[in-house]
């Protein structure tokens, strides 16, 4: 398993990949970046389910120390707009309203990257919302950045194979938020159809494309229906993949509308999940 390249190892400048850029920007004319496959002309003012136009906006950036150990300090770039609608999203309206924040221009991005490097950041991490809906813009920013650190792509993994192929060779680490273990919970709490089939397909593909870390946020009351199916699937299909259990659930956004999500995770569920992981022998990282 390739480790994250050290921040001192420079990527660029890379030669501009015009074919890839052209293919990416075609999605702004007929967007098929996520599996909603809206096909809308975002550059022409149409919006799909994510409601994003063709402009990439960032509402926050920060150096973060609470990621998986070998990734910290990580420089997180928060982009507004998302293709899912998870009721417990900690970013809330900033994630779901793609008009929030400020346009991330190449100059601003390069300035931020340089600042992050000076602060000791080992990598940059695209986060949202969902970065994939802004993939053409992000690729363009990265292509123009002469001093690009290693790149982490933290995603809901609800993207299309076409989108993932555009990231090949441009991303060092994929962090997948595998949120739901069945389609009913996904539809109820995240607003997507065929969730499990889409995410598991993408996990298999991404695993061949770079380092993959699968995260799962343990949700109260979803031990049997979500946690267990997810870890069983990983055990069977991607047993060597790194798995990261997130246990810090707190009610956010619209969680209060859902009975089981109104309170923090109980210690008993937390301990049960850890025990399950130990018994399964997954490659758990922290």
């Amino acid at each position: 398993m390739p480790l994250l390249r050290d921040a001192q190892v420079e990527h660029g400048p890379r030669p501009l990949d015009y074919d890839r850029q052209k293919a990416a920007f075609q999605h702004y004319q007929s967007c098929m970046l996520c599996e909603h496959r809206c096909g809308v002309n975002r550059a022409g003012g149409e919006v799909g389910l994510c409601k994003a136009d063709a402009q990439l906006r960032m509402f926050r950036h920060r150096i973060e120390y609470s990621e998986e150990t070998d990734l910290v300090p990580s420089h997180l770039f928060y982009l507004s707009g998302c293709d899912l609608r998870c009721v417990f999203c900690i970013a809330g309206i900033n994630a779901f309203d793609p008009t929030r924040g400020e346009e991330l221009t190449p100059a601003l991005f390069q300035q931020a990257v340089a600042w992050g490097r000076a602060q000791g950041a080992r990598n940059i991490q695209w986060i949202g919302g969902e970065p994939t809906i802004h993939l053409p813009g992000i690729l363009d920013l990265m292509e123009r950045c002469p001093d690009l650190p290693p790149v982490i792509w933290k995603s809901d993994f609800h993207f299309t194979p076409e989108a993932l192929s555009l990231l090949a060779g441009r991303v060092d680490v994929y962090i997948a938020d595998f949120k739901f273990g069945n389609d009913a919970c996904a539809a109820r709490l995240g607003g997507g159809d065929n969730y499990v089939e889409i995410v598991t397909r993408n996990l298999k593909m991404a695993n061949k494309q770079g380092r993959l870390i699968v995260r799962h946020l343990l949700l109260p009351g979803h031990f049997e229906c979500c946690f267990k199916p997810i870890v069983r699937w990983i055990q069977l299909n991607l047993p060597d993949t790194e798995f990261s259990l997130r246990e810090g659930y707190l009610p956010s956004w619209r969680s209060q509308r859902f009975t089981e999500l109104r309170l923090p995770l109980q210690r008993a569920e937390q301990h049960a999940a850890r025990e399950w992981l130990n018994n399964l022998g997954l490659r758990v990282i922290q």
């Binding site: 509402f59 950036h61 120390y65 300090p73 900033n94 929030r100 991330l104 810090g248």
Partner: protein, 67 residues
């Protein structure tokens, strides 16, 4: 956060702490400074130890002019 972020916010020095009624501490947005504070008040916590060790390791490397 309250209000509409019209400009990009650098929240590197902002950390949100929530202390549960059972004593668990939830941290969103962990900065170096807060990591140092947590290390001081909970030196045996496994997560804090791991992250502190990583940070120190990187610091040593930078000071050595190494990787």
């Amino acid at each position: 956060m309250n209000g509409r972020p019209e400009t990009i916010q650098n929240e590197t020095e902002i950390t949100e702490l929530t202390i549960g009624i059972d004593g668990r501490i939830y941290v969103f947005g962990l900065s170096q400074q807060i990591l140092n504070v947590l290390q001081a008040i909970a030196p045996t916590d496994a997560t804090i130890k791991r992250l502190t060790a990583q940070t120190k390791l990187l610091s040593v490397r930078q000071n050595d002019g190494g990787q």
